[in-house]
């Protein structure tokens, strides 16, 4: 078993937390996993991305150029990472923020997720990242939403533990959206 993904967006959209949570869940599921944040001399509103590699063998490279799946949360990320997704890979586009002109890819498996609207539906627009993560988990099948929910307490700073039910709801809403639209990808 081997899976890799790049998650990208603006700093502040929760990109690194998405990767972190997926990595924690993979570890709890007994897999080998590496989480690699791309950091730099970034400013607020700059771009952030992370790569997660999950395997049942020791992970070699934490660097991935052409991922099996990508989540792009803003225009620059869509432009940069969309075309790099493998030919039969999965591209999840945050259609609440990404303009269609920036969606370019070799793969036909593209799902546009109105993450903001779905997050508003469950009462917290700031959980758009968890909506997308729910979609990614549902469609990739490497870890389950239940695995993710289980590790929320260890991945989240105790200050935010009161947000666990809301995060769970967003993950589940995202997964439901993915299920309903599975036919498209």
């Amino acid at each position: 078993m081997y899976f890799d993904t790049i998650i990208a967006g603006f700093g502040g959209q929760g990109v690194l937390f998405m990767g972190n949570l997926m990595a924690y869940a993979a570890m709890e599921a007994g897999r080998q996993v590496t989480f690699m944040p791309v950091y730099g001399v970034e400013m607020r509103g700059g771009t952030a991305n992370c790569t997660v590699v999950i395997s049942d063998r020791q992970v070699g490279s934490p660097i991935v150029h052409e991922p099996q799946a990508a989540v792009v949360m803003n225009n620059p990320s869509a432009e940069k990472f969309g075309p790099r997704v493998k030919k039969n890979g999965l591209l999840l586009v945050n259609s609440s923020l990404v303009d269609e002109q920036y969606v370019k890819a070799r793969t036909k498996r593209i799902l546009r997720v109105p993450s903001l609207e779905l997050a508003q539906e469950i009462g917290n627009p700031r959980l758009a990242n968890m909506i997308l993560l729910g979609c990614l988990v549902e469609l990739s099948g490497v870890v389950s939403v239940a695995d993710m929910v289980k590790v929320l307490p260890s991945a989240l700073d105790p200050r935010y533990h009161k947000m666990i039910p809301a995060n769970q709801a967003a993950l589940e809403r995202g997964a439901r959206f993915a299920k309903e639209n599975r036919g498209k990808v």
């Binding site: 590496t34 989480f35 690699m36 070699g60 052409e66």
Partner: protein
Amino acid sequence: MAKRVMVKGNEAVAMGAIAAGCRFYFGYPITPQNEIPEYMSAELPKLGGTFIQAESEVASINMVLGAAATGARVMTSSSSPGISLKQEGISYLCGSEIPAVIVNMSRSGPGLGGIHPSQGDYFQATRGGGHGDYRTLVLAPSTAQENYDLTMLAFDLADKYRNPVMVLGDALLGQIKEPVELKPYRKKPPAKPWALTGCAGRPSQLLKSLYLADGLLTEHNWKLFKKYQKMRQEVRHELYRADDAEVILVAFGSVARILRTSVDILRDKGKKVGLLRPITVYPFPDEAVRAAAQAAGRLMVLELNTGQMVEDVRLAVEGKAPVDFYGCPPGTIPTPEDLAREVEKLWRKGGGR
């Protein structure tokens, strides 16, 4: 199995140090290793230990010398430019035979350079970047787990040889997050009869690196030399898919783990290629490299610099097999596909050198 936790590479270093009984940390902040002092500053006071953010790197390495002289397990960490500043102190630690652990999560240079991963400090680490005829043991991890394990080992080796030991990682190994098994430390640290603990009831003793009287310094240097010879038994390396290889790649640290994937890519294409990863870069695994050259007939060295470890590989091989080189100066991290392509290019060229 011990508990597995998801931690940053830098945190794994700090956890390994604390597990091995390190209770004193002195440092000065610099990216990309700040999670080490951050972790130590939070945890050491709870254990009755001491964390000091010194006024400079020079001050911190001298605090290391002072605390370690009393027999305590002591660590400092920094990144390239900061390690340069510590060199005088490292030379004094070697001269005075005081054990300590120094972590270099190296970044790019020369000068202030940048915060990208780089292996440009290989020469400095393995040759001893300070003055005088000395050596430090240098351990080169390539996973967060090894950051933990080798930091523990570094304390044992430092005490065993009464010598500073360096853990040489880079920005990539400091920033990745991986599960780490928190293996308990079960050894009993050795007694340190040489330590300066107050001389009530015993003759006073001295730790120093100044030897002015006739012949003493010569004697002292020969004594150190014999110790460095003995350190050769600590040599460690790892082979990956090298059994039937026609070309063996040689790489350490972060680039070695990227190459693990390149090896898989090339093997899938039917190319018989393997990987030799030095885990100690001083002492260098000469014999393993020589054996690999003999078995495969050809070596290729890949580094995140323009050619440093390749010199040690060529010294080990003694001209008996071609040794090719591909180097990536800092700025971008090569992907496994990039490196696989470069290996194929060198392969097609043939010959080596």
